[in-house]
């Protein structure tokens, strides 16, 4: 693939990152002085990035396919002997769609936050962090080498930590932020090891060098790199076994959840694997590991989402599950990469809509997140209800909403690989239908179960307009990307695309999936809309109880990691305080005691000193005499 130098409008691509970064710097460094205008500046920088992104897209569409990879070198960043790393940005079809998703959905979330956070005293800081988040994510997707990608990767981790713990006065929020950061660090170790391994193997960490010479490396090396990258992706994208942070991350303000789940953060893992497609194409076992991890996560997420009464946690479960779909698709190889990105885009839009919708509901319900205290909100919050329904129909995959097209393609690609994987995706789609129906039934339908002093109301326009735009996206984006945008041939030069024959015609799979989804939805409707929803959660069966505890994710982490570490730490403390300190203190005590005895000889009587001198002299004399003889 030829890489074109950045000319004309493309020479401005560094501005995409620089604008939100400058916004973050100004907002965070000017302090209270920018309290009044800071939030608007924060919104403005991201919107400007979005506009620039759209202009770049138009420019790129005018180029012939083979000239769509454009690189811009800012300066030479690392140069050690023959090893050099440039601070360079690369714009291609894959980064382009990510940039648009991040900036446009990011802008909408910023605008929404103006309303949602309007009463928060630290609003300025919040927008500063949001800008930092967007800038880091843009750096991640625009880097042209793994080292620069790692900078963005860490930036995203930092921004998520700051935002999840934004309400740090709440102990739970501070703990959730630390948890997210620490679990992400485990993934980061995987990424840094993968980068070192790439450097050792290929002598370079630039995408073009690594992918260009990937086929020359042994399969063992590629598998190791692939597995390490999978570890990194699992951390960032909340995949099994590093999924535990995602549900606690709901402690952050709702726009943050929307940003983490839709535009930034969790999509980074999928991006990493899609970007490294050459490695996975040549490492069968690593790709298989991706599929296994994805399948486990799809079901974990779906089961957790079905049991949670907290609307945000239920949505978080659904994100886990949907990201699992994307990971599955990238694990499938060239038959899936394109659809993983396709689903990522549609999911980014409808999940942002759902989260912001949930935020709107919470806004009207005095920040209560318990769906058992919702009910019958459809007539009170009309705009929120309609936009939420668009997101709902999109996520469960009802035609012609956007989720249908992308999820259907993933299911189809899964069937191309085999019955088992295909069947699993269909089953998970059915569970998606169940838990999403449960969510809307408990929230918008049924009887009022509000607390006595709550007066639900529709949110202000600054919050509902982004909702409407996202709802329109949830409705039409799938069709637009598939038929008008031709996403397959757009992404094909970067990630590759091929199709394998399946035993049944495509329509059959659509039929099966839709039937299962509708059955799931009907079960959800019967259980939660037709029947009374008890305000106190019933005990439930063992699976419900397990799912309420995040399928014991925390318990497992505690038993396997936290408790052994604590024991080891305690053992080391004991060793340090009794053995090491004992040796040091003991020798000091011996010397001190001896000195105490010996200093008694310093009596202060001159004559006794004189006696010892004479005695010493006599001894020396005697010694001399004896030696002489």
């Amino acid at each position: 693939m030829t890489v074109m130098p950045a000319e004309g409008l493309f020479s401005l691509m560094w501005l995409l990152i620089a604008l939100p970064l400058a916004g973050a710097a100004i907002l965070l460094l000017t302090g209270r002085r920018s309290n009044s205008w800071g939030p608007y500046l924060g919104v403005l920088t991201v919107c400007a990035s979005a506009i620039l992104g759209v202009l770049l897209l138009i420019q790129m569409m005018g180029l012939p396919t083979e000239e769509r990879t454009i690189a811009q070198v800012a300066y030479q960043w690392v140069f050690v002997g023959s090893f050099t790393v440039d601070l360079a940005f690369q714009l291609d079809q894959l980064s382009m769609v990510f940039i648009l998703l991040i900036t446009i959905v990011g802008s909408l979330i910023h605008i929404y936050s103006l309303g949602y956070m309007s009463h928060d005293p630290d609003k300025r800081k919040f927008f500063g962090y949001l800008n930092l988040f967007v800038a880091a994510m843009l750096l991640l997707v625009m880097a042209n080498n793994y080292l620069l990608l790692y900078v963005g990767w860490e930036g995203v981790g930092l921004a998520s930590y700051l935002l999840i713990g934004f309400w740090q006065h709440k102990r739970s929020a501070a703990a959730a932020a630390k948890k997210a950061f620490i679990i992400n660090r485990i993934g980061d170790v995987g990424l840094s090891l993968a980068i070192m391994l790439m450097f050792v193997t290929f002598g370079s960490v630039a995408f073009s060098d690594v992918f260009g010479s990937a086929t020359q490396a042994s399969e063992g090396t590629l598998t190791a790199i692939g597995l390490l990258l999978l570890l990194a992706a699992a951390g960032k994208s909340a995949q099994f076994p590093l999924q535990a942070w995602l549900l606690d991350a709901m402690e952050g303000p709702t726009p943050v959840s929307a940003l983490i789940h839709a535009a930034t953060m969790v999509t980074a893992g999928v991006y990493l694997i899609a970007r490294s497609n050459v490695i996975y194409n040549n490492a069968e076992w690593a790709a298989m590991a991706v599929i296994v991890v994805a399948l486990i996560t799809i079901f974990m997420g779906a089961i957790i989402g079905s049991a949670k009464d907290d609307i945000k946690k239920a949505l978080a479960g659904s994100t886990m599950s949907q990201i699992g779909y994307m990971m599955l698709a990238v694990g499938l190889g060239p038959i899936g990469y394109v659809f993983a990105i396709f689903h990522l885009l549609t999911h980014g839009v409808f999940k942002a809509g759902l989260f912001l919708g949930a935020g709107s509901v919470m806004h009207g319900m005095d920040d209560n997140v318990n769906m058992r205290r919702y009910g019958a909100l459809r007539s009170v919050m009309v705009v929120t209800f309609i936009t939420f329904m668009a997101g709902y129909l999109a996520i469960i995959g009802i035609p012609p909403f956007s989720g249908f097209w992308s999820k259907d393609e993933i299911v189809h690609a899964a069937f191309e690989r085999g019955w088992f994987i295909g069947g699993a995706t269909v089953l998970a789609a059915g569970i998606t239908g169940f838990y999403m129906t449960r969510m809307i039934a408990m929230t918008f339908f049924g009887k009022k179960r509000w607390e006595t002093d709550v007066h639900p109301h529709e949110s202000p326009a600054v919050m509902t307009i982004p909702l409407v735009i996202l709802a329109l996206g949830s409705t039409f984006m799938g069709m637009a990307l598939l038929f008008w945008g031709d996403i397959e041939s757009w992404l094909e030069p970067v990630v590759g695309y091929e199709s394998e024959p399946t035993p049944l015609p495509t329509s059959a799979y659509i039929g099966i999936t839709l039937t299962v989804v509708i059955v799931g939805a009907i079960i959800g409707w019967i259980s939660y809309a037709r029947r009374e929803v008890p305000i106190d959660a019933p005990q439930g069966n063992w699976l419900t109880r397990a799912a309420r505890k995040d399928l014991y994710g925390d318990a497992v982490n505690h038993a396997l990691v936290v408790a052994p570490t604590n024991y080891a730490a305690r053992a080391l403390v004991w060793f340090d305080s009794s053995i090491v300190d004992g040796c040091v203190n003991g020798s000091a005590a011996i010397v001190g005691g001896l000195s105490g005895r010996m200093r008694r000889t310093q009596s202060g009587f001159i004559r006794s000193y004189a006696l010892s001198m004479v005695g010493g002299a006599v001894l020396v004399l005697l010694a001399l005499v004896l030696v002489r003889i």
Partner: protein, 99 residues
């Protein structure tokens, strides 16, 4: 004359001086005993100088005398000062500099 006589005499003088330093409490007496020891050494120096026929020992004896004179100056000054504060010339009295 047998040089051993000088040695015996010097040993006797030195022993008297050493015992004087050890057993007497009066600082002046102790000082005199020190002088006695120094002079015992001088005697040996001079005797051997005479015996060997060169002047090295005699010049060392002069050095010892000069040093002893200087020492007496400093030492007597200290003794006078101590006597002024304590009304005593006993060397067992000033024993504060100890453990």
């Amino acid at each position: 004359m047998d040089p051993m006589y000088y040695i015996y005499l010097a040993t006797l003088l030195f022993s008297i001086g050493a015992i004087g330093v050890l057993v007497r409490r009066n600082a002046i007496i102790v000082f005199m005993s020190v002088e006695l020891m120094l002079n015992a050494a001088n005697l040996v120096f001079v005797a051997f100088s005479r015996m060997n026929g060169n002047l090295d020992g005699q010049s060392v004896a002069f050095f010892v005398m000069v040093v002893a004179a200087a020492e007496v100056v400093v030492g007597l000054a200290i003794i006078v000062q101590v006597f002024r504060t304590r009304q005593s010339a006993s060397i067992d009295e000033p024993n504060l500099l100890k453990y």
